[in-house]
């Protein structure tokens, strides 16, 4: 049986621009989850809210905001906007306590 690869596989090299280290291969990074999910307050919120936060994902076909960690570099977290169909990265911005120092929005 002749198999045909999806058109983007094997042709697109995903590269992320770390706010500290600059542009690097995606293998230096670790995916840390959906950045659009907001955790309900730990001392408030229904069990349904927490269930939604942990399990429910929209799985969009297109742009998606994700948390990535530069594990083989500066170890900073960042929010990456990635197109789930083409792997095109349209934005990388720092998050966390060093956001301001890295020129991001605090």
């Amino acid at each position: 049986m002749k198999r045909v690869a999806a058109p983007h596989l094997g042709t697109i090299k995903m590269r992320l621009t770390c706010p500290f280290c600059g542009e690097r291969d995606h293998q230096e990074f670790t995916y840390r989850g959906d950045a659009s999910a907001t955790r309900p307050p730990m001392d408030n919120g229904s069990i349904e809210d927490h269930n939604t936060y942990v399990f429910d994902r929209t799985n969009p076909d297109g742009e998606h905001r994700e948390l990535w960690n530069h594990t083989s570099g500066c170890r900073m977290h960042m929010v990456v906007t990635r197109n789930t169909t083409t792997h095109k990265i349209s934005n990388c911005e720092p998050v966390g306590p060093w956001t301001k120092a890295l020129g991001g929005k605090s």
Binding site: F20, C21, R24, D25, Q27, E28, S72, G73, C74, R75, M76, P97, W98, K100, A101, L102
Partner: protein, 197 residues
Amino acid sequence: MVDVPERVSPLDAVVEPGVFGANTRSLEVFLSENLCGSLVQVQAWPDTVGAVEKAVQSVTKLGVPKAPATAHSETVSIMQTGPGRWLVDSEVEGLEDKLRGKVSAKNGAVTGLTHARVLIQIKGPKAAWVLASGIAIDFDLTAFPVGTSQISHHHEIGVTIHRTGEENFDLYVFTSFARGFWHWITTASSEVGYAVS
């Protein structure tokens, strides 16, 4: 000061001085292992960067660099490895205690890495070519100039790379992965021929 055992290199069993590889008449890569006198990581908190920079400066007598630039004298090199974080390499032992005396826990964290990293030096006309064969960063002089540092990895083995000359690199590798890294770098150098000293 805490008593620590005598240092033993993880590469002792595999580093063999000599000439190896394909073209031993015209060597283009030279490898050596060196032990750091002191290797210390200093991490500031977001609101104490200025205080920690002053503390590092007072101990090392060097201005604290802004990445990717490094600062170095004859005995000390400082590399910025993250926001508010520096790696200080010194030929002189005891730097960790000196820095710990100047950087309080309120201002930051001082971590001794002398036993946690191995310093492998690679030089020669093909040094950048060998490194580029396994590490996915740009080693061109315009992208990675002399006197700068980069952090990357080779097959999940983290490495901090300090370009000390056009054809000279200091590689700081995790001690427990040093043999695996050494195996790769000698295999990659075999194609052009290399000398180990």
